[in-house]
């Protein structure tokens, strides 16, 4: 078949977008819960919130470039999206390991997101390989 766009990557990107909305709201709600129940001074709360919002800001272009690159079979946007994914992975690892309070729910959400990122990166690499060749 002459279609080089990867269907699994498309499905994964779509599901990732929906999951990320849920992830963002849940993590924000849990940070608010933690700040009420535990002792959460301002200079520990600010970096955690900053990382969360930075990740949300990165996610939008990352998903858009992923969609666009996959559908137009262009490797440049897909490569850019892969680069942004690396940044998102680092921020996700921060929220998993170096947050002020890591609850069990945090561990679950971040682990799912990390595995989605990992799978996506693999599919993007194979899609780029398919487009280039």
């Amino acid at each position: 078949s002459s279609q080089l766009s990867s269907l699994p990557l498309q499905i994964l990107l779509y599901v990732n977008g929906i999951y990320y909305i849920f992830y963002f709201l849940a993590t924000l709600a849990m940070i608010i819960y933690k700040s009420q129940v535990f002792s959460y001074p301002d200079d520990f709360l600010a970096p955690d919130l900053a990382v969360l919002f930075l990740m949300a800001i990165l996610e939008v272009p990352r998903l858009y470039l992923g969609f666009k690159g996959n559908l137009t079979e262009a490797e440049a946007p897909l490569g850019l999206s892969l680069g942004l994914t690396v940044g998102s992975v680092l921020l996700c690892v921060y929220l998993l390991l170096w947050q002020t309070y890591v609850l069990w729910a945090d561990v679950l959400l971040n682990a799912v997101l990390l595995s989605a990122y990992g799978l996506e990166s693999g599919l993007k690499v194979s899609a780029i390989a398919a487009f280039v060749s």
């Binding site: 309070y101 890591v102 609850l103 729910a105």
Partner: protein
């Protein structure tokens, strides 16, 4: 010695490390090197001690229970075994909640912070942070200054309050008064609504008397008073009256008081020197001064005099009121005299007449004595303790102060009963025993319903069972019981007199054989009883929704 001192300081500087191992923590181990009873985690207890325990007072030692998984030390007593022994288990406690803390990167979250040990370097900073009435995270941004600032500088309100110095254009209204010694000090400010009267001595010399500022009238009236603090509205001090006192003490009121009389030296006398100033300040009920007047007493100083005594007085009156001395506003203040008076008899005019004949409208009211200390009085004990010799010494009844006083009556055979009874009644009750007592400290004389009548009781105390001996009774004690209650709001209760009962106890006077005499004690007492009922909190009524439709709402149909 230097390095041992440093070592000691280093030891002091670091507090002991906190213990976090649950197996070694024991909360009930209070006695050092001794076994605590029923404390299963105490390392000082041996197996024999454990066999004597009945329960474990601390069954579980655990860290923060919010953690997902943590170690817990569980202590229990196995009572089945013989002898009973303690069981110690170290288990992993798991928190099943999905919101348990898996990890934390914030050390102080789960443990109490070790306090900083004060050293000479950080002492000032610690004192700033923790030395005030409240702790603050940012000691410099909040104003933690708990030192009282000077009241004149801190007073930013736009009206005078009680005790605030009365301000004039340059400084304060001065009321010279004796400070430490009897010499006059000009630095005493007059406080708003604080009625003061002071007397002090000023050193003078007749030659320089026109240059001594404090002897001239101008010194006391030249600066005008600010109507409210920190405003530009001025109130001039007017001269109300001038009284001239001659050398032998005779005072004459001058007819014209608008001429300013300054001290001058005239043939070895200094005339027109200020001997006394009496300020009258009129104010509104919002704390603004509207009028100020000063009444002077001027006198002459002779050449030999090296000092004169000056007296100063200031009084504050609210505008449109009569300056009646109140005993509280509205509730009685403890220590102020109880106000009492009489109702004039024989003027039972009905109210209708008072409208038709306005000049007769003051038909009822309470007449009080002008001296506030002689309205309700009791006998004042004297040093001689003889009732008949000390007639006339009375002490005012002060609100809240229970008093007992008395005297001794020497009865001889020659005394006749009836005059004696009347004399004793006068001694006990005084010349004018009032009929009504004001229920509030500020009850006005025209509000008759605000005044409580004094109930008079007579109790006859029989000394012996010889009831028919003689029908002559002499009063031996007067007991005034004042029942008062707390009135008004829970936060600021006011004392209100509800009931006053004056009880005269009489006893029969036994006839004495001639030549004998007896001494009987006569007592009078005042007791204040608080009969306040317990306070009931009351709440505001729920607001009601008041919706009314316009009257032509159903227009076509109605």
């Amino acid at each position: 010695p230097a390095d041992t001192r440093d070592a000691a300081q280093a030891r002091v500087r670091s507090p002991p490390a906190p213990v976090t191992d649950v197996a070694r923590l024991c909360v009930c181990d209070l006695l050092v090197a001794q076994c605590d009873i029923n404390c299963c985690c105490d390392p000082d207890c041996s197996a024999e001690d454990f066999s004597l325990f009945t329960t474990c007072s601390v069954p579980v030692v655990i860290g923060d229970s919010q953690l997902c998984s943590q170690k817990a030390a569980v202590y229990s007593l196995d009572v089945e075994a013989n002898p009973p022994e303690r069981i110690f288990k170290l288990i992993d406690q798991v928190n099943p909640s999905i919101f348990c803390i898996h990890a934390t990167n914030y050390k102080q979250a789960l443990y109490l912070k070790s306090p900083e040990i004060p050293t000479p370097e950080n002492f000032d900073q610690l004192l700033d942070k923790f030395g005030g009435a409240t702790f603050s995270a940012e000691p410099d941004s909040w104003n933690l200054d708990t030192d009282a600032q000077n009241p004149p500088e801190a007073n930013e309100t736009s009206r005078y309050e009680y005790g605030v110095p009365v301000q004039t254009e340059d400084a304060f209204l001065r009321l010279p008064s004796p400070v430490v010694s009897s010499w006059c000090s000009d630095a005493n400010p007059a406080g708003f609504l604080v009625n003061q009267a002071t007397k002090c001595i000023r050193s003078v010399s007749v030659e320089k008397c026109d240059s001594i500022q404090a002897l001239s009238m101008l010194f006391y009236i030249n600066s005008s008073i600010l109507a409210v603090p920190k405003s530009s509205q001025m109130v001039n001090i007017t001269v109300q009256s001038i009284v001239v006192q001659s050398l032998n003490g005779m005072r004459t009121l001058l007819s014209s008081s608008d001429v300013l009389r300054l001290p001058t030296v005239s043939d070895e006398l200094c005339i027109n020197a200020v001997l006394g100033v009496n300020y009258h300040i009129t104010h509104t009920d919002t704390g603004e001064i509207i009028e100020a007047a000063a009444a002077f007493v001027l006198g002459a100083i002779s050449r030999e005099a090296l000092s004169i005594e000056q007296s100063f007085k200031i009084s504050f009156t609210q505008e449109n009121t009569q300056p009646v001395p109140l005993s509280g506003n509205p509730g009685y203040v403890v220590g102020l005299p109880v106000r009492a008076g009489f109702q004039p008899q024989g003027y039972p005019f009905p109210a209708a007449f008072s409208f038709n004949f306005p000049q007769l409208c003051v038909t009822s009211g309470i007449i009080q004595s002008s001296n506030k200390h002689s309205q309700l009085t009791i006998l004042h004990s004297t040093s001689t303790q003889d009732c008949l010799a000390a007639q006339g010494a009375r002490a005012p009844v002060l609100f809240g102060y229970n008093m007992v006083s008395g005297c001794k009556l020497r009865i001889t055979a020659a005394m006749k009963c009836q005059p004696l009874a009347q004399t004793l009644l006068d001694v006990l009750k005084g010349q004018s025993f009032p009929e009504y007592v004001a229920s509030f400290g500020n009850s006005q004389a025209q509000d008759v319903l605000d005044w409580v009548p004094i109930t008079q009781l007579h109790i006859s105390e029989q000394m012996f069972s010889h009831t028919l001996q003689s029908s002559c009774q002499i009063p031996v004690s007067l007991g005034i019981e004042v029942k008062w209650t707390k009135y008004g709001s829970l936060v600021n209760p006011q004392a209100r007199i509800v009931n006053v009962t004056a009880t005269i106890t009489t006893t029969t006077l036994k006839q004495l054989p001639s030549g004998r005499e007896r001494i009987i004690p006569i007592t009078s007492s005042v007791v204040f009883t608080d009969i306040s009922s317990p306070a009931e909190p009351s709440y505001k009524a729920w607001p009601t929704i008041n919706i009314k439709l316009p009257f032509d709402f159903f227009y076509p149909f109605v």
